[in-house]
Subunit: 334 residues, 5 copies
């Protein structure tokens, strides 16, 4: 029995312990869970990471979980949701991380099964383990004693906390582009950055927005797996998630406005360039025309015989250009 | 009687069988259905494909279906919906497929009548038959034993699964255009593609979005044709459909942003071209002006008599152009 | 009495008949209606077309209709709505038609009063009479026997059916402009057409959208004038109207995208034109510069004395232009 | 007592009369109101115009109105709303007028207190008095006999009627700009007009939209100050207000589309101008180049010695330009 | 005990007093609060400013506040909300101020705990103290006698009043930019200002919008900490907040339209510049071409020998340019 548990560990079991009165009472091999559950004075907290189907089936047997929920937990690619089954609660959360340089947004998933005296977490693709979470919970036995409902709160709080630095970083990115563009530094580069930021915000939104509904149901409605005195904690997560959501939406709207502002600035710049272009063209074209005139081959052109004809013609060219220059300067074209 | 059933088959009946305890019990000729229904220990699953009106009328008589539902099933061109009649449930689904090359989005329809002990499916225009579906259902007799409600679930799951590759393909198309545009490769072609993708997404949305409401009613409200233990399965379809919907909406928003980003990039490009154009124009215009000056016919132009006048004039032209070139390079116009 | 009825007919009464068991029982003069209503075994169906106020007052007396509803029916210019009075139901519908060439969208109105044993329709501005409707209803006595509620259904179905070809035509117009624009054929004309189509769609929407609410109330809530077995028919109209609405909204969104796509295409075209303009300008400017150089009057310009100076200079011009041509071709500016 | 009433009149009382059975029974001095109210067979209708605080306090005492409502009525600058106090109803309406030339949109406010046997109206800034309203009400004693609730209806109907010509005028303005722009007459002027119209529509909306909710509550919910048989009248106002709202929203959407259409038309025009510019530039540049060539000073240029050299060169210039002209015409650049 | 209170004061206690019958009865040291609360005839109003954690814990003990609420009050960075705990109410408000020159929008927070006989306010970052508020409340003992619920009203009213000048100033800014842009004064500067205004409006909205919901719950639902006769006051704040919200939304929409209008005006300007540019270019190019023609070196050019050849050629140049000038003027290009 210990053997098979060891096997299981290598194939996806991260941790499996029973808690009595908020204190870790014993390590539990996966196939012994039923016996522990039957003792009635403790709850089991089982943590899995990308388990094989075979392990999931064994876990399902121990806790009598529903087929559909197990399928979801195995396949992943679910949206965040809360589903209530007869004896258990099934919660799907999405986790997010910035990975690599330049940072890319990568999503993971955590599936949670909660019953009256157990909680099972199944982690997919999330690089950051929940070890810290378990340690933190064990530090506050009086809270952990509230049972699996409190662990769910701690987990959701943990996940929501992971979003904060990501959203903050996107906010800073928006501010950076903002300054760049409003300073008139408008290249194609910043358009691409705006687009990529918006895409990331849209992905984030799809991970965060459904959590509002999940928290709402956990804090309001009659979910028997969540004891009444734990319910108030989910209000805290709810608030956090709503705040994230609002920030994401505000950034999306700012990016849209920024793209429009950029177009407007480009148009101003283009207009300015065109004016300057026209002004300089005129200042070259007029002397060229004068030179053309004195390049004509008429026999009777008195100026051509003057001693100072040449310098005078040059002077007239310079004068014309200078006059144009002053004029354009005054009208703001230069 | 067997004759008429055979006729019927050729005119639209794909399959008509009775199931007892989740196992196929017998093939049933269309006109014998009433007798089978009266035996009470089995349910009938009848599959039709673009049936003639006459056949539909015979089916209507066997199951006592409502006139309006039969008319809908005959005419097709319905939007997805769920209608409850006194003794039966009428569900309309839309199916979608990518057909041809370049792939074109083609929609079909499946109409379903469900009663306490029968399910009738009427397929229109959908190229992919439901044969696989029936086979799959027959592989899990313990589930099929739940009755027509389970068959409805299996069918809706089947339809929702058909949408996944289509939506995924559109997602990939969006990514492809995304890269093309953000790499600065902005032709009229990509605008047309964006527009066509958006049109396809709009059509898809009209087929998928009403399914959310249909699933919602099937999983929540008191629809007597759906037994309680089947209800939980529709949550699964609901989730799938919501996910499709969210993906479609996200892609639509991305395409809108992409079109705006493209306009912004075009504007940047245009500005760059104008600057470069102006720079080169100046580098040609200045030497032309100098040449014009030395082409003047004044009698007293000392430079004209110099031995090195010509090379010096050429040098001044080159120098002017080079100076302009360096200047424009520095200011980023070139 | 017959006299006054004849007068009335000339002033707006189209048809006034009593129906018993779904069969036309007798023609009823307007001022005899009360007597017929009192017989209790039949219902009266009165059709008016733009009636004078005096006629409306007489009708009001016969049926005891509410002042406000009569005022609405006289003034027209109402939005589609359903109003329940103590003893009667008042429904306003808007009808639409394409009139003239190029087709212009023209709206009419039909006001309906329904009581337990009567239905009064008042038509305004609608060019298409309801004669066909009455004939069609009389063809199905078993349905017409359901009473005024069924006539209301038939009328609403008739009105919704009128919208289908109009919406379809607008859809085709959108497709036509779509192809025109995506083929790069972008003139000011198509912008004007897009705008006009959008305006028409907005008008249509204001006529169709309130019908969704009207149908919804007729098919769901406790409207005593609609018998329970008729209620299911309004689901049919509801569906039709929702479909029209969705099509209208989809077309509106497509037109918006089309206008943006057009701007994007214009921008691409402008960029292309600018590049081509620049390329050709360079190919003329460089030979002009060379000619200018050999037009200078320096005494010591050895090339001027060469026998092949002139052809060589021409050759250099052609070579420069040809070089530029090839270069521009390669870089895609030509 | 008569004295003080006279004083009051000069300081804001427009009219104060008691009505019995729908007929004006007596003029009532402000400080005698309580006595009249106690008689129980009549209701008092008091009209104020921008009253001093002192007068409002006296009115408050007579009717036992709530402090907060009185403060609102004194300060004005409220949004349209309906507030129910224990014994009275407080309604705020906004009125609108086009003033001056060019017409400017100016808003006023009317505050109404309604109790079982009184109605007090406080007008702010509205230039159009309610005198006509009182006269009109007095013309229909059978309706006025319904009491203060009917007066409220009449007042709201009066206010809604004031909006109709304003909204209509804005609609006409939109149509005017529409035609101007779609005819290609696109100046900066029309952009400014579009913007100003949109701003006006936004202001109007803020005045009209809350009325929908106000009417809705008056016609549906249990507001004891409104007798049941008056309730149906507010449906009339509701309809009117919803219609205004829909028109305003449609115009806003049209203006947005119009601005986009204009940008599109500008882009078309700019493209056309650029093409024409390029064509004419080519037709001048090519002869200039030819002239430059024959202005070169090579000793061996056979054409220069030909008798018909000069006319032939001119001919070649004309031919080149004509060729270009025809070519540009054909390709649509001219 | 007095000592420790003094310490507390230096570390964040602004004011702590007990009120009996609306009158300030005594100053209360923080650690004596329980005793005062037990007397039952008075309520305690404690004002804190950015308290240390230790002080907050002491306050928590005195009032038996919930851990989560205390954590929120310590950390700040909450969105406006109302949370009901078993015995107390927790309200978070955001305050706003324009600081510096050019004015920058700075947000603060005020957290409020309300119980049957106490109110605790915790201020964060808000520069403007609530001293005036307390003084104002003490001026109306009959209102203050209503208890902590009234103080909450006064505080929310105070906070809403702070928003008014800020929103008004933003409105004026919008009007200023409006005039600047519609007068054709379109620089990059105004685009940046529009963007920054929009960003400020978005921040404001996130502070103001949740207050609508908070007020709504305070004025409607059964919040036991708010006595019934105080409930009506929150309607006043509700109204104010809704008005602020509407103004903010209207300004946001105006700014969006303004940005579009600006783009349209830029496009008009660009078109005008291009036309003018083209016109002047033509007026220089044509004389240059004529000069080029008479600069050709053909031996047989009769005009060259004419006495008046030169002046005539100049005349033809002037005539050509003048002709062009008139033509361009007429067609509106100049």
């Amino acid at each position: 029995m210990v053997m098979s548990s060891a096997d299981a560990h290598s194939a996806g079991v991260i941790n499996c312990a029973a808690y009595a009165g908020g204190v870790r009472a014993e390590e539990v091999p996966v196939d012994n869970i039923v016996e522990v559950l039957n003792r009635g004075d403790r709850f089991v907290w089982l943590g899995l990471y990308e388990p094989e189907e075979e392990l999931l089936r064994r876990v399902q047997q121990q806790f009598h979980l529903h087929d559909l929920a197990i399928e979801d937990a195995y396949n992943a690619h679910q949206r965040p949701k809360l589903e209530q089954y007869e004896h258990s609660l099934f919660v799907v959360l999405r986790t997010a991380q910035h990975v690599g340089n330049p940072p890319k947004l990568v999503f993971g998933e955590t599936h949670v099964f909660i019953g009256p005296n157990y909680i099972v977490t199944v982690r997919h693709g999330s690089l950051q383990s929940h070890v810290g979470l378990r340690a933190r919970c064990e530090c506050t036995p009086h809270l952990l004693a509230k049972g699996p409902g409190y662990v769910l709160y701690a987990l959701m709080d943990f996940v929501a906390d992971q979003y904060s630095p990501i959203v903050q970083r996107l906010e800073e990115d928006v501010q950076e582009i903002e300054e760049e563009i409003l300073d008139g530094n408008v290249t194609g580069e910043s358009t691409a950055r705006i687009y990529r930021l918006k895409r990331d915000l849209l992905s984030l939104r799809r991970a965060v927005a459904p959590l509002v509904e999940v928290c709402n149901r956990l804090m309001r409605f009659d979910v028997p797996q969540i004891p009444d005195d734990t319910r108030v904690y989910f209000r805290d997560v709810y608030d956090h998630v709503v705040r994230l959501n609002e920030t994401i939406d505000a950034q999306r709207e700012l990016l849209t406005t920024l793209l429009e502002a950029k177009l407007s600035l480009m148009s101003v710049a283009q207009n300015d360039h065109m004016k300057r272009l026209a002004a300089w063209a005129a200042m070259i074209a007029v002397p060229t025309m004068i030179a053309g005139i004195y390049g004509m081959n008429f026999q009777h052109m008195p100026e051509l015989g003057w001693s100072y004809g040449y310098p005078l013609s040059l002077l007239s060219m310079v004068a014309a250009s200078a006059g144009l220059y002053v004029g354009f300067k005054r009208s703001g074209w230069l």
